[in-house]
């Protein structure tokens, strides 16, 4: 890579799009929040802990965190059929795993905490925006959390490791042997605020082992900034 990759929107490699976080946006819910990375915007609402129905799913030893991820039909350029598809189911699953680890679920036997994430508009990194919103919503619902959770998608594009990739970057193509091929790599991370342990890690694309180390370092650095935004949003509701 002779020329250094320049991001289309002029961002630094470790710079996210403009982040916005607001807590308490849905009054009916026990906790709620909106989080956005630029044009990617996620709404999350938490209900519970409440009794888990049907009863046979109840666990007398610990409660369950259920996250549901879905997108509005108009959140993407081509209308998405309403209702969760297989992609959404998988994201719901990994989101639940990324968040449940910080909640002392043993305090909530036979109960469920439901966390509904809805993507209002999508411009890549939606699962990370969703996790950031969900973590805020859980905190604002007063659910004790061992640590805060922040998520960011780190990509390898045009040879560079960059944070918070947008849709344009996700679709980045290079011409090789006369063919255009998609060449972006997307690595979503969720990182716990104090231990900096990793609770979500996926990869779509291709990366060398040594680059993965750089990507982890980038994710940690950026998640510290995201955590600051989250903290600020939570403090704001305290003031109100």
């Amino acid at each position: 890579m002779a020329e250094k990759y320049k991001r289309a929107d002029g961002r630094d490699y470790d710079e996210t799009r403009k982040m916005e976080a607001k807590v308490g946006v849905v009054k009916r819910a026990d906790g709620s929040a909106i989080f956005s990375f630029g044009k990617s915007q996620a709404l999350a609402c938490v209900y519970g802990p409440r009794q888990f129905h049907p009863q046979h799913l109840q666990n007398p030893e610990k409660g369950v965190l259920r996250c549901y991820y879905d997108m509005t039909s108009f959140s993407v350029p081509e209308r998405k059929r309403p209702g969760p598809n297989r992609r959404a189911s998988e994201i719901s699953f990994v989101t639940s795993r990324a968040l449940e680890t910080v909640i002392p679920l043993e305090n909530y036997p036979n109960s469920v905490i439901d966390c509904y994430i809805l993507i209002l508009q999508a411009d890549a990194s939606t699962r990370c925006a969703g996790i950031n919103a969900a973590a805020l919503a859980l905190a604002s619902a007063g659910i004790p959390m061992k640590e805060m959770v922040s998520a960011v998608s780190v990509g390898k594009i045009g040879g560079a490791i960059v944070a918070d990739i947008s849709k344009d970057e996700e679709d980045y193509e290079i011409v090789k042997d006369g063919k255009t091929i998609k060449s972006a790599t997307d690595i979503p991370f969720a990182i716990l605020s104090r231990s900096e342990k990793i609770s979500l890690l996926q990869l779509d694309g291709r990366i060398k082992p040594e680059d993965l180390k750089e990507a982890i370092a980038m994710a940690k650095k950026v998640c510290r900034k995201i955590n600051e935004i989250q903290k600020k949003a939570l403090k704001k509701i305290k003031e109100e």
């Binding site: 297989r86 189911s89 699953f93 990994v94 900096e196 342990k197 990793i198 779509d204 060398k208």
Partner: protein
């Protein structure tokens, strides 16, 4: 339906002393066996056994219209079903999240490794391309379904022949001599964390006792990672990096074993 706490503790205790239920080493795959052509109507098929775990996979091909956003590329799909015949834990009905995750994990590994060059499946740009559907059916779940299903998918692909086409129609049952072209053989290794030890190719009980898993798909010899997926407890950076190192090492051991069957 999970195992009892006492069993879990026992396994943790054993693994901490590097002893496994079937007396293998922590980083040792069970015996691998692959047979091909297990279903004659499939364009390619394979049965993979890893110890007692058994999976069959088949490839079906068809001529279809390409997707609008990729008019010059074939269509690749991966499906996986967890049928109740394979385990008392699987149930009839809509696919459980475990099946969806499994299929999507294998899809990403196969797709990103570009072992099937989907551009080579284009017959007429914007009009006709080959679709390649890989469907995976676990027959006996004795643990390590992710890695076993991945081997089955790759084996079925490597076994596939393009069907004969007459008057623009696919003549099912007649296979041409032309093999479905594969550019590489990707390898998937999932590392499980039990206590503070890492192990591969777990039995079901060991899966239950594990607190986290991390899956890697590699192409060798480049050692390039094409997919990752973590679930379970949080992991530190050091843990992730050492799991990656173990996975590369184990992939290097596993890949020649798989290739030896594919060459037969």
């Amino acid at each position: 339906m999970e195992i009892s706490t006492i069993m879990k503790k026992k396994i943790e205790e054993m693994v901490s002393k590097e002893i496994r239920l079937d007396e293998r080493g922590l980083l040792e795959h069970r015996k691998l066996d692959i047979t091909f052509d297990v279903s004659h109507n499939a364009e390619g098929s394979a049965r993979v056994k890893l110890g007692d775990t058994e999976v069959i996979a088949g490839v079906k091909m068809d001529l279809v219209e390409p997707f609008k956003d990729s008019p010059d590329a074939g269509v690749l799909t991966v499906g996986a079903e967890l049928l109740p015949l394979a385990s008392d834990r699987f149930e009839m009905g809509a696919p459980a999240i475990q099946a969806i995750e499994l299929a999507r994990l294998i899809d990403r590994g196969v797709r990103n490794s570009e072992c099937i060059d989907i551009k080579s499946l284009c017959v007429k740009e914007g009009e006709k391309v080959w679709s390649v559907s890989i469907d995976i059916y676990p027959i006996n779940d004795a643990g390590s379904l992710i890695d076993t299903c991945f081997i089955a998918a790759v084996a079925a692909l490597s076994n596939a022949h393009i069907p004969v086409v007459k008057d623009e129609k696919v003549q099912y049952g007649e296979l041409s001599k032309e093999k479905l072209p594969m550019t590489c053989i990707p390898t998937t290794v999932t590392i499980y964390k039990v206590g503070d030890k890492f192990l591969i190719d777990p039995l079901v009980e060991e899966e239950d006792a594990s607190t986290a898993r991390l899956t890697f798909t590699f192409t060798l010899p480049e050692e390039e990672i094409h997919s990752m997926q973590k679930t379970g407890e949080e992991l530190s950076e050091e843990e992730i990096l050492s799991m990656m190192d173990i996975a590369i090492k184990e992939a290097k051991k596993l890949a020649p074993k798989v290739s030896a069957f594919l060459k037969k």
